[in-house]
């Protein structure tokens, strides 16, 4: 639940999603769901020459199970808040 809530707060931010097949997609976070499936808008693939497979795609749905990393803007994150929330979640609150 923690990361679901966290991503909901990040809606509207520019993120880069790196997938488990090494594809990296940059876009604006449109929505997220309980499985951490991610919908991105205004997408472009990071290395377009290497991955021309998605050249005509501008909005996409990324299945949560295939995400390796979600790269966030450093100033879009309140690390202390996240740290506190994680500590509470770990404690079983």
């Amino acid at each position: 639940m923690l990361f679901f809530s966290y991503f909901k707060d990040l809606v509207g931010q520019e993120v880069t999603v790196e997938l488990k097949n090494d594809l990296a997609i940059r876009g604006t976070l449109h929505s997220v769901d309980q499985y951490l499936n991610i919908k991105l808008e205004n997408t472009r693939v990071v290395d377009q020459d290497k991955f021309p497979h998605m050249l005509s795609v501008r909005n996409c749905f990324i299945r949560g199970s295939v995400v390796r990393y979600v790269q966030l803007p450093p100033d879009g994150v309140d690390v202390d808040l996240l740290h506190d929330a994680a500590r509470r979640e770990a404690r079983g609150a």
Partner: protein
């Protein structure tokens, strides 16, 4: 910290209610490009889906990329793709797609997904 002022907070609440369901509803009857876990790229019209992301794809064809020759298209027809095997579902912009010269595109096939 983002979202402390009242206006942003209200915006955030609105976003929360919108952002909780990433349904594929908006893509039904649209042409989509699916990237599967084995690295295939399949294009077709989304006819249906479920919570497990299983999808029904009509008029589908596979786009095979290679480094030696242009993109090949293999016609498949009506397909059900199991959600387990799906990585990305992209909304295909038909104008952009029409402007691409597939015979000139060269690329390595996508890698399979490794968990």
């Amino acid at each position: 910290m983002t979202g402390l002022d009242p206006e942003a907070k209200q915006q955030r609440t609105f976003n929360c209610s919108m952002a909780t369901t990433t349904g594929l509803e908006s893509l039904v009857d649209q042409i989509i490009s699916v990237i599967t876990n084995d690295g295939r790229n399949i294009v077709g019209v989304l006819k249906g889906f479920d919570q497990a992301t299983n999808i029904i794809l009509d008029e589908s064809h596979e786009r095979v990329f290679s480094t030696k020759e242009g993109v090949q298209q293999h016609v498949l027809g009506l397909y059900i793709i199991r959600g387990d095997n799906i990585g990305v579902i992209g909304e295909l912009d038909e104008e952009l797609d029409a402007s691409l010269d597939f015979s000139k595109l060269r690329a390595h096939p996508l890698k399979p997904v490794v968990h």
